[in-house]
Amino acid sequence: MCLFVVFDLFVAFLSTAAAQAPAAPRPPRSPRVELSVGAGFLGGSSLGTADADLRGRSNQPFQLFDTSSRIGGSVPLEVRLDFLLGPRYVFEIRGAWSRPELETSVTGDVEGAPPVSLGERVDQYSLDLGLLVNLRQARSRSVVPFVSAGAGYVGAVHEGLALLESGISFRGGGGLKYPLVMQRRGRIKGAGIRADAALIVMTSGLAAESGATRQLAATGSVYFSF
């Protein structure tokens, strides 16, 4: 994964910089980077209805059949790389992958074909940049609430990695962090768990052309501070 590579390079850079520092003792620094990995649930959402209309007489549409589509719920895997800009503000890069099923119901066929429900599973990737604001300073064994928002790219990929569609997504929500370990020394300066809840709005891609698609997401993660 790209994110892990980026992280490894960053850690390597920090280690090298530390090795070249003067021998004089320095106060231990606060963590600067957090990596979290987690999974959760991404809710389903309607993709809208669409009629397969022909142009009829007297400018009235003549319906061949109609459809109603939705994107099913899925279990996303999430990776976040957080850059701590201070005690409260965090710049966040988030990547996620899920495998929802697209479902389309077909009804009202003009030649009497029975209603059918059609599905197809797709891989959905997203990568977004965002800002997280801690609402309280982190202390060991103390819950830290936060709010976060971001925007980025979402792509739907079919089997064989053929890109089906791509679009823009916006994310807003919040959550809680619970530090389990905090220490001033050592490469890993902390670890904990976090829970996120967000509303994800997709304005194109698999979303219906006539509007945005809204999905609720909830994830649980473990994080490590460096």
């Binding site: 669409a50 397969a52 022909l54 009829g56 007489r57 459809t67 059918v116 197809e120 053929a162």
Partner: protein, 326 residues
């Protein structure tokens, strides 16, 4: 020296005639097409009641512009002047005009081609409008007359090398012929009737057709396709009409299972998931579309049980649609 062939296609009032297929006219492995653009066309100097020669020419120019303005196609046209030559004369001029054909009492217009049967390159194409009918160029149409521009857009589709589309629904008329209930393409072979001007505007199927024949810029990389077979038991359902529908864009685009194994391929699709519907070719005379004598129309309308993906710049996995007999 390749032979030159003269072929005619008509736009019918209640019953289509002669043969054609969609997405380019097959000539062996070549497609009928223009190699050199802009394609020069002439208008005859003859008018009919309600439509002067001058108004006819400007209306035809508008119909050419409708095809020329398709952003994903690269064909261009140029009006070369008025002519005393007649449509259907083999004179190297592509002439368009009115002619009186009382013997063709259900034919609004027709297009003839002169083309190289080895390369498919068009040398000449003529269009006639049957002056036994009453014609109009009124902006909003005339309920008692046929619209010149609508029929012109259809005939110019043939002039480009497109055949007929089967996206439409009809019913039999007691007095004979068919009545169109709905049409999903300008290239549907039967007119919606007097007063209708809807065929002035191209549909997704028409746009996919001309873009496939004259692709421009990034068309092939930015669109995708689907392919598969239509089967009835272990046999191909030859000539079955396959429609794909994109629920996101509302586009309907059609094709035919013309392969020996019932194979079909539909290109020029906006990438995304599609509903696939297969129906027998029973809404117009089969020879409106192609000259096959083993077309299977004895099966029920069938949906492929999954959504089918048209990937960007490619063609998705092949799939079989199995239809059941009526």
């Amino acid at each position: 020296m390749p032979r030159l062939l003269l072929v005619a296609i008509v736009c019918a009032w209640t019953a289509p005639a002669l043969a054609y297929s969609h997405f380019g006219t097959g000539v062996g492995t070549a497609r009928v097409h223009w190699d050199d653009t802009p394609v020069r066309w002439f208008a005859t100097e003859r008018g009919v009641p309600g439509v002067t020669a001058s108004v006819f020419q400007t209306t035809i120019a508008r119909a050419f512009a409708t095809w020329q303005d398709v952003p994903t196609a690269s064909i261009e046209f140029a009006f070369a002047g008025f002519t005393a030559a007649e449509p259907f004369d083999e004179d190297g001029l592509s002439a368009i005009g009115f002619q009186d054909h009382p013997e063709m009492d259900r034919v609004l217009g027709a297009t003839t081609f002169l083309y190289d049967d080895e390369t498919g390159e068009l040398i000449e194409a003529d269009i006639f409008f049957n002056s036994i009918f009453e014609w109009s160029t009124a902006a909003g149409g005339d309920p008692d007359r046929f619209d010149v521009e609508s029929v012109a857009v259809h005939e110019i589709g043939h002039f480009l090398g497109l055949g007929h589309s089967a996206i439409g629904e009809t019913e039999l008329r007691p007095e004979g012929g068919r009545r169109v209930l709905g049409s999903g393409a300008v290239m549907f072979p039967i007119s919606l009737g007097r007063g209708s001007i809807v065929d002035r505007v191209l549909e997704a199927d028409d746009i996919a057709g001309v873009s496939d024949l004259y692709p421009d810029g990034n068309f092939e990389n930015s669109t995708g396709g689907v392919h598969g077979r239509v089967r009835r038991g272990s046999a191909p359902a030859k000539g079955a009409h396959v429609i794909v529908f994109n629920p996101r864009t509302g586009d309907l685009i059609g094709g035919f299972a013309l392969g020996d194994d019932g194979g079909f391929q539909i290109l020029g699709l906006t990438p995304g998931p599609y509903v696939v519907r297969v129906e027998p070719l029973d809404d117009a005379d089969i020879d409106s579309f192609f000259a096959l004598d083993d077309v299977d129309i004895d099966f029920l309308v069938t949906y492929y049980p999954r959504l089918v993906a048209a990937p960007s710049g490619g063609v998705g996995d092949s799939f079989d649609v199995t239809v059941r007999p009526k």
